[in-house]
Symmetry: C2
Subunit: 370 residues, 2 copies
DNA sequence: CTCCAGAATGTAAGCGCATACAGTTGGGGA
DNA sequence: TCCCCAACTGTATGCGCTTACATTCTGGAG
C-alpha cells in the first residue's frame, strides 16, 4: 500500500496532474465541477501531498526553524516501547526534596510565540534543542529543511552561523547586537535592570547592594550588569566598590553562593540577581536561615518566570516578553525572506519592572492569607 | 546569490554529484583524499543539502510530527517588525491580579520529551498547535512533511486521522484506548486516581467526598472518574450518592464552582479534582475564605504540575510522566516506521501518587518557615 | 451559425538529491 | 609484465510536485 500521489489522484479523477495541483494550490483557477471531482478523489485515495516534492519544485519549504541550546539533564529513561506498566507508587513528597526540572522556561515561551506566529503566516515550525557541545550537525540539518531559522544567541559558533546563513536567513534571539549582518531581536535588558536598580536606590536609599551575575560569557547578563552599573553610577556610587557574585544563572549554584555568604557573615542590604532562578535560590537559603526578606535583605530577579510569582515572598523582577520575542523573531525572518535585500533588522522589545514583596515590604497582602 | 547545490560542489571539487552525495551520506565509501577535497568545497561554497530534494529521492523526510490542540488566549500582539522600544514600565504587581497563562504545561513537557527522543534517533521534530475548531489543514500539512506523527487524543476528528494515517503512521497520545488500529501511548489514569482515592478513604476514613471533573467529553477525565468510582465502591460506599461538580479542567471555572459551593453552605470533607488546575482554583477560593486545608477540607489534584508544588498548602496529586509520554510516543512511531506490519502498540505508563500537605495535614514543615 | 477572446486544462521541463548500475583505477598475484 | 578483482567513481534515472507555455473549450457577439 503505497501512498497516493498526484498521478493517482489525476487518474482517479480523470484529469491531468496539473489540474490536481491547481485544485490544491489555486482552487479558483479550476472550474467548480472539476474541483469537486478532484477533491472527491483526494478523499477517496487518502491523498496527502508530499512536502518534499512540493518544496523541491517550489523552491521553498514552508517551514521555519527554531534552534536553542540547553543543558538538560541527561536522563536516559526506559527504552521499552511496549510498556504496560499500570503500577502506582505512593510516596510522601516532602517539600523541596530535590531541584525540580531546571527547565528552559525561556525556551517554552519563546517556542510558544514562534509556533503561533509561524503558522499564522502559513509556515510550519521545526524545533531543535542542542544539548552537546557540537551544534553543527543539528543546525545544518535544520538549515536544510527550512526557509529561515531563529537561533538563540550564543548557542551556535559564528562559523556555523555564517555557513548556514549563506543558504537561508538567520535571526538571532536575545543577546546584544553584534557587529554582524544578521537580523536580531532582543529585549531591553540594560534599561530594565537600570530602572529596577534605580528604583531600589532612590526609594530605599540603599548604598549596600550586591549583584549576583550569570555565566561570565552570557551577553544577556553582561547587559544587565551594565544597567546595574549605570544606575549605581547615576546615584553617585562607585560600582567597582560593590561586590559581584557568580550564580551561573542556576538556582542550585545560587544556593551555594548564599550559604557561603551567610557563613562569611557579610550580608548586604540588597541582592540584585541577574535572573529569577538565582533570586529564588537566594530565597531558598535566606528564608529558612531566618533572614527576613525584604526587611533584612531585598532580593530581586530578572525574567518574570512563573515560579517567581509563586514564591514567598513573591519576587520583584523585570519581566521580559518571551512569547513576544518568539513572535518577533518569526516576523523578522518572514520579512527577510520577502525582502532579502533590506537592511538588517534590529527589534528591541520593552520590558516591565514588577515590584513585589521581595523588595517592597509586606505592603501587599498575600492572596492566601487575607 | 543562489544557494549552492550538489552540482556546484561537484564542479568545485572536480568530482561527480554522486561522490558528493556519498561524502555526505556514507563517507566510508569514498577515499579519504577525495572526501577531504569535497568537504573543503562544501565549506567554501557554504553548501547545505536540501532536505526537500533528499526527502523526495530517499522517500523519507527524516522528520517526526507532534500535533496538539490548545485553547490559547487569542492575544493579538503588535505586528511591528522594526520595534525599537526600550521603554521600561514600572508597576506594582499586586498578588493574584489576574489569571496567569493557562498554559499547556502538558504540551511543554510532552514536547520536551518528543524533541529529545526524535533527535536522538536522527529525526527532526515539527510541531503544530491547533487553536481553532478546524485542525484539518494543519494536520494535513504536517502529515505531508513527516514520516510519522503523534497526536493528542481527541484533538483531531476520526475522519482526518484516518485520512492521514493512510500516508504515515499516527500515534495517539493520552486518552483511553479506542477500538481503532492506531498505536497509542497513555498513562494509568484510572489506577492513579483509584490509588489516591483509596488512600483518602482508608487513611482518613472519609465518606463525604466530592469529585470535581473536567469536560464531559474528556476521555482522560472519564478514566479518572472511573478510578474514583472503583475506589469508592471498594470501600462499600455508593458512588452515585456522591456529587460530581464540573470545573472543565480550568482554574477559573473551578473558582466559580468553589464559590457556589461556599455560598450554598455545603462543603464536603474532601474535594477530589480531576486535574491540578481545578484543585488550585479550589484553594484560591477556600483559603482566603478561611476554610482550612486539609483540616476542614482535603483537596487533591491530578497531573503533578509545577504550580501544585509551589502552592500553599502544596497539592497532593497524581504525577504523570509527561516527558516520558512524549518519548514513548516517538519511540512507538519509530518502531511502527521500521515494522509497518507489527500489531498495534499500546504503551501504558505508570503514575505516582504524591502525598503533600493539601491532604496529609501540616506534618511536613514548609521549606520557607522551618 | 461562425468567430474569437478568455477560461480551463493539458504538456512537459525541471527542482536537487539518492542510488542502481556501469565504468574506471590500482595493486597484488601469477 | 599481464590479468583480475576489489575499491572507487561516474552515469543516468526517477522521486512527486509546480508552473511556464501550449492547447482545447466555452459562450456571447456578430
Amino acid at each position: 500500500m503505497k501512498a497516493a500521489t498526484v498521478y493517482d489522484v489525476a487518474a482517479h479523477a480523470g484529469v491531468s496532474i496539473a489540474t490536481v495541483s491547481r485544485v490544491l494550490r489555486r482552487p479558483d483557477d479550476v472550474r467548480a465541477s472539476t474541483r469537486q471531482r478532484v477533491l472527491a478523489s483526494v478523499l477517496a485515495l487518502g491523498y496527502v501531498p508530499s512536502a518534499s516534492a512540493r518544496g523541491l519544485a517550489a523552491r521553498r519549504t514552508g517551514v521555519l526553524g527554531l534552534y536553542f541550546s540547553s543543558v538538560d539533564d541527561e536522563d536516559e529513561q526506559s527504552e521499552a516501547i511496549f510498556v504496560q506498566d499500570t503500577s502506582v507508587e505512593i510516596v510522601v513528597d516532602v517539600p523541596d526534596s530535590r531541584e525540580v526540572r531546571p527547565p528552559n522556561l525561556y525556551f517554552d515561551e519563546v517556542l510558544r510565540g514562534s509556533e503561533r506566529e509561524a503558522w499564522r503566516h502559513g509556515f510550519a515550525l521545526m524545533v531543535g534543542v542542542g544539548r552537546d557541545a557540537n551544534p553543527a550537525d543539528m543546525v545544518n540539518d535544520i538549515a536544510g529543511r527550512v526557509d529561515g531559522m531563529a537561533v538563540l544567541a550564543g548557542s551556535v559558533p559564528d562559523d556555523i552561523l555564517d555557513h548556514v546563513s549563506r543558504r537561508i536567513p538567520v535571526v538571532l534571539i536575545a543577546g546584544p547586537r553584534r557587529g554582524d549582518h544578521h537580523d536580531h531581536v532582543s529585549v531591553s535588558n540594560l534599561e530594565g535592570m537600570r530602572a529596577l536598580t534605580t528604583h531600589l536606590l532612590s526609594r530605599h536609599g540603599l548604598t549596600d547592594l550586591v549583584y549576583v551575575g550569570g555565566p561570565a560569557d552570557s551577553p544577556d547578563d553582561a547587559e544587565r550588569y551594565q544597567g546595574f552599573v549605570e544606575a549605581v553610577e547615576a546615584a553617585g556610587l562607585d560600582p567597582a566598590a560593590l561586590p559581584v557574585l557568580r550564580g551561573e544563572f542556576s538556582r542550585v549554584r545560587a544556593r551555594g553562593v548564599a550559604e557561603t555568604m551567610l557563613a562569611t557573615g557579610r550580608v548586604p542590604r540588597a541582592l540584585v540577581c541577574g535572573n529569577d532562578q538565582m533570586a529564588l535560590g537566594m530565597l531558598d537559603v535566606l528564608i529558612p536561615a531566618g533572614v527576613r526578606v525584604p526587611e533584612d535583605v531585598i532580593v530581586t530577579g530578572f525574567d518574570g518566570i512563573e515560579a517567581g510569582r509563586l514564591s514567598r515572598p513573591r519576587l520583584t523582577t523585570v519581566h521580559q516578553p518571551m512569547v513576544e520575542l518568539g513572535r518577533a523573531a518569526m516576523r523578522a525572518m518572514l520579512s527577510r525572506i520577502e525582502h532579502p535585500d533590506q537592511p538588517p533588522i534590529t527589534a528591541r522589545l520593552p520590558v516591565k519592572v514588577l515590584l513585589r514583596e521581595s523588595s517592597e515590604g509586606p505592603a501587599h497582602p498575600s492572596p492566601a492569607r487575607p
